[in-house]
Amino acid sequence: MANMITDALACARYNLRARDAALLETVTGLNLPSIIGETRDGVAMLGSDEWLALLTEGTKLPMGEGQPVSIVDVSDRSVGIIVEGLHAIDILSAGCPLDLARWPVGRASRTIFELVEVVIIREADTRFRVEVWRSFAPWLREALKTASNALTA
């Protein structure tokens, strides 16, 4: 399969914070992963009190007013880039220092690609989703394509 670098479909994105995961689940109605680095139903646990939810475009979550939670709509903050193909790991490894080959499907982490902060999710053996802030996306697409070209040179 040829390597492909494409934009993901639009989606809703929420940054979810709370010390009490159960409370967050009650407020949002979502099933949250409980181990850092896991994903469940489109929600990735990035830190001890932080989740990133990637949901169907247009989904609106309750704001949890008055509760010790933070639910912030960041749908437009990032774009998703799909890196797919036999060399997907090699392409990402051009700039990402993590050992992606050892990631089970469903693993996610905030990390970097060279100078740019990203969140990477392993969606399948040879497919990764890279979430990056909107204004860094053109640079990242260019960097990924350069890495891809160098591999097939």
Binding site: G66, V69, I71, V74, C96, P97, A147
Partner: protein
């Protein structure tokens, strides 16, 4: 005298002859040659001129440790000088058809170099000479001595063209990383082959084999082993790859050379940087032979014994036909015997030891080689090539001269512990090796083969300099060949009081050249040890530092050039600005429209037009780059109260406040208007350049000082596009577009925020102003930014809506005296200095910076304070940064009492305006001060910072 090709020897491919040039002269070689081996085969002995003395030099080694034969290579198409690389070791340059190489550091030619005059005057150039000799007169140093010395000393010429090549990079992970593809490394790789381990094997040569490449007895084993490894799916083999540094936690940097060995430069990267994280590292880097230190040991034709063996067996080249070996070690004898067996003429072996193993002596005699014991070479005849050696018994006695055309040195072996030492593994002195061996590891690493001391080179004796009857100051016995450091220099350093090897190294520059002392460190230590009458282990050992061999800047820079140098961040509205002729400027990593010239307008004309249009009608400005942070949680107001100077708890939802952020030191760090959307939700703004810094600072306090607060921070800078609409017509423009928000002044006062819809898109509409006019900042989700901008432009057409850029934004705010953090402040300005006392919550028990504000120094009245300046001549526009003085007639150095921070032509006022910080500025209202410029002195009057609409009535339009 002249080397030549030996039949039936070498791994070169005689079916593939190659043509190349050296200093413009054409030569032939074969595929598999290096530049050094091919030139030696052609009888070339002279490769370069030494750094300081410009002495003629030839090849001394066969590998990366070569100190003398530094050349410049020009790759690429004819006439294209953009791929010029200086200071390459000829022993490491792979020969290819059409290679163009030049020698360095000589004028007018290699054979007749004017710089050799330095050798004649060498008594004036000992170690540290420029601290002693060329000192007077002092003025001559800068204009004469230094430039001349720099021109004369030095190696290659730095390239002057931009590097046109690309360089690739990658991270890689493995369970086992083997550095070195010689017998030791290959054994380790075989052991791991066929297992589940991810293995990477690196070697810096074009083929695996290491020392086996010049040991024909091992070649069939080598073939079988290489085939087995190539067939192993779990082993990745990287040749032409140098591991240059070993970093924390088994992180290794290596550079793979992809194209330098090719005749035609292909598309694609020239080199690839490998950043490898390894579970375990096996170092198999071998050992490097030591030269011997004797007068004339740098004459072309004097080289390491193992180098001669390598040139014979790997490249099929005899380095001489009447060779003399000077040995302190058995390995030299074995090399000489191997040469003799291959038909190369070996005349004599001179050994500094009195006793040598009888088998070796017997073999030598059988080969017809004369042997001398307890003797040393005390001189070398010949300048551009060896003609003879003079030897003498160590204890004194008659010298004898032996005619020869090459002299081999066998000074013993030094295990390569460079990368081991980078990893902070400890070393232990071994008297047998006369060298340091790896001792205790600091990382998960082990050494195999010679670099770990697990190799039998035979027996030998460590010597400092060889015994000689000549007085030391009459000899040139080289220790560091590349930096021209002699035994005399090291003894000089000791005489001058340097006791530690760190000082001796730096004073003499021994070990400081591009070869990093690979052939000089240990000899230098031995000589110092003898001079100090102290054991080697008490003198110290200098630090090994990456890179192990020189690497290109390109490989380390990777993609960071051209389009990928740095992300240029653009807003959702940037496309409109570009299509409408914006002139851009960079603010942090963002590209922002600075002004929109129409027709033939220059910046001043455009800015004047934009400013007048905003105040007369309405202007539109892309403010999307402003930093935004959503602060959410029951403790949100409490948190902001602690971070900012302002009080936040009483701020009603739906209202905004200008926030001032200080550091613990009490100085202004950032500012911005922030809105309370709900009791537990705030929308903060920061400056464009401060967004990341402010978020980091807040997270720092939250995580380390107040982790119990129920509040969380989310960056929303890129979630919202921000369209600023400023001017008396602003409300008229957006009224038809807005839904669900009452825009009347009573319902929507200045410094308020409302949520609703604009053009069918959800919006947070702020009524705020950085211009002093009626104004709004329309926040919409970024994906809709452009559409809403277009709609506002269309709706504004009837009102003469005018797009404006950052330059106009700066002028308009300056007319109102609003500061820009980082322009009018520089990290030393307090709120009081800036006239922002009103922003401090006086009743707050604490906030970041509060205590610092109470320091006596922060309360002094003569601090630099923020004021306005009006020039006497209204057409004079001051220069930002210009210094301010009270007395223009004062003699230089004048007392500078402040400087101009912002300065513009104000179209609104029809004259220039400026903002400044001046000592005790607040008490100087009406005072005349002066600004000395190169061509004239400008007089100014100190005034209030608000130049226009002092009452602020226009905000309520």
């Amino acid at each position: 005298m002249s080397g030549f090709r030996i039949d039936n020897q070498g791994r070169i491919d005689r079916a593939r002859p190659l043509s190349f040039t050296f200093d413009g002269k054409a030569y032939r070689g074969f595929k598999g040659d290096t530049l050094a081996s091919a030139l030696l085969a052609n009888g070339v002995m002279l490769f370069g001129r030494s750094f300081k003395y410009h002495r003629p030099r030839g090849v001394m080694a066969a590998g990366v440790e070569e100190p003398n034969a530094l050349v410049s290579v020009l790759r690429g198409p004819k006439g294209d000088r953009s791929r010029f690389t200086p200071n390459l070791r000829a022993t490491s340059v792979e020969l290819y058809d059409g290679l163009v190489a030049e020698s360095q550091n000589r004028w007018p030619s290699l054979r007749f170099d004017a710089g050799a005059i330095n050798d004649v005057f060498s008594p004036f150039f000992p170690a540290g000479f420029y601290n002693k000799t060329f000192m007077w007169p002092r003025s001559a140093w800068e204009k004469l001595y230094e430039p001349v010395i720099r021109k004369m000393a030095g190696l290659g010429n730095a390239p002057s063209a931009l590097d046109p090549d690309h360089y690739d990079a990658t991270f890689a992970h493995c369970d086992l990383l083997i550095i070195g593809g010689g017998p030791g490394g290959l054994d380790a790789a075989l052991e791991a082959s066929g297992t589940n381990q991810r293995v990477i094997l690196i070697d810096d040569q074009d083929e695996l084999g290491g020392g086996a490449l010049f040991d024909p007895a091992l070649w069939s084993w080598l073939e079988r082993t290489r085939a087995a490894l190539a067939a192993s799916p779990n082993i990745r083999i990287l040749t032409r790859t140098s591991a240059f540094g070993y970093y924390h936690d088994n992180f290794i940097g290596a550079v793979e050379r992809l194209t330098d060995h090719l005749t035609v430069v292909p598309d694609g990267p020239r080199e690839k940087l490998w950043r490898i994280r390894a579970g375990e590292v096996v170092l198999a880097q071998g050992a490097i032979e030591r030269p011997l230190v004797f007068d004339g040991n740098d004459t072309p034709g004097v080289m390491l014994a193992s180098a001669a063996l390598t040139f014979l067996h790997r490249y099929g080249v005899a380095v001489g036909q009447r060779i003399v070996l000077m040995a302190a070690h058995d390995s030299g004898w074995r090399d000489a015997l191997a040469l003799a067996q291959a038909g190369v003429g070996v005349t004599a072996i001179v050994d500094v030891r009195e006793h040598v193993a009888p088998q070796l002596i017997a073999q030598a005699k059988e080969a017809g080689i004369a042997v001398h014991f307890g003797a040393s070479v005390i001189g070398v005849g010949g300048r551009h090539e060896v003609r003879n050696v003079t030897i003498a018994p160590n204890g004194g006695g008659g010298p004898a001269t032996i005619a020869c055309d090459a002299v081999l040195m066998a000074g013993g072996w030094t295990p390569s512990v460079h990368l081991w030492s980078h990893s902070k593994g400890s070393l232990k002195w071994d008297a047998n090796w006369g060298a340091y061996l790896p001792d205790q590891p600091n990382e998960n690493v082990r050494c195999v083969g010679a670099c770990g001391g697990a190799w039998d080179f035979g027996a030998g004796q460590s010597v400092a300099a060889l015994p000689t009857p000549k007085p030391l100051h009459k000899t040139k016995a080289f220790v560091d060949f590349q930096n021209d450091v002699t035994a005399k220099d090291i003894k000089l350093a000791v005489r001058e009081g340097f006791r530690s090897i760190e000082h001796i190294k730096r004073y003499t520059t021994n070990g400081m050249a591009t070869d990093q002392g690979k052939t000089s460190n240990l000899n230098g230590l031995q000589i110092a040890s003898e001079a100090l009458a102290l054991p080697v282990t008490s003198i110290g050992l200098t630090t090994f530092r990456p890179p192990y061999t020189p690497q290109t800047f390109g490989a380390l820079a990777g993609h960071m050039k051209g389009g990928l140098f740095q992300p240029t961040r653009k807003t959702p509205i940037d496309g409109w600005a570009e299509a409408n002729g914006a002139v851009f400027e960079l603010v942090a990593q963002w590209r922002r429209a600075r002004y929109f010239p129409q027709g033939s307008e220059d910046m001043l004309a455009a800015v004047n037009r934009e400013c007048l249009a905003v105040r007369a009608g309405v202007g539109i400005f892309d403010a999307s780059t402003l930093g935004k942070i959503e602060v959410v949680g029951p403790d949100a107001a409490e948190f902001l109260n602690r971070m900012y100077t302002n009080p936040w708890k009483a701020l009603e939802p739906g209202r905004c406040r200008y926030g001032l952020l200080l550091g613990e030191d009490g100085f202004i760090r950032d500012d911005g208007v922030s809105a309370r959307l709900a009791p537990d939700r705030f929308h903060l703004t920061t400056t464009t350049g401060g967004a990341a810094r402010v978020l980091n600072m807040m997270e720092d306090y939250l995580q380390t000082e107040w982790p119990h607060l129920d509040v969380w921070l989310t960056s929303t800078t890129e979630q919202w596009a921000v369209i600023a609409l400023q001017g008396p017509r602003a409300r008229d423009v957006i009224a038809p577009l807005v839904d669900g928000i009452d825009l009347s002044p009573e319902a929507f006062p200045h410094m308020a925020v409302r949520e609703g819809m604009i053009c069918g898109v959800p919006t947070r509409l702020f009524r705020v102003s950085f211009t002093g006019e009626l104004g709004y900042e329309i926040n919409v989700p970024a994906a809709h930014g452009r559409v809403v901008w277009d709609a506002v432009m269309a709706a504004g057409a009837a009102h003469g809506i005018t797009p404006y850029g950052t330059e106009t934004m700066h002028v308009l705010r300056a007319e109102k005296g609003y500061i820009i953090v980082g322009q009018d402040s520089d990290g030393t300005v307090t709120p009081t200095d800036a006239g922002l006392d009103w922003a401090i919550g006086k009743k707050k028990p604490d906030f970041v910076g509060k205590r610092a504000l109470a320091r006596p120094d922060m309360l002094r009245s003569d601090r630099k304070q923020f004021v306005g300046l009006l020039t006497e001549d209204p057409n004079d526009v001051l220069e930002e940064g210009a210094q301010i003085v009270a007395d223009p007639a004062q003699a230089v150095p004048m007392s500078m009492i402040g400087h101009v921070t912002s300065s513009y032509w104000s179209a609104t006022l029809g004259r220039s305006i400026a903002l400044a910080v001046v000592q005790g500025g607040h008490a100087r209202m009406g005072e005349t001060l002066h600004i000395p410029m190169p061509d004239k002195i400008i007089s100014v009057k100190v005034c209030d910072t608000v130049f226009y609409d002092k009452e602020g009535a226009r905000l309520n339009g």
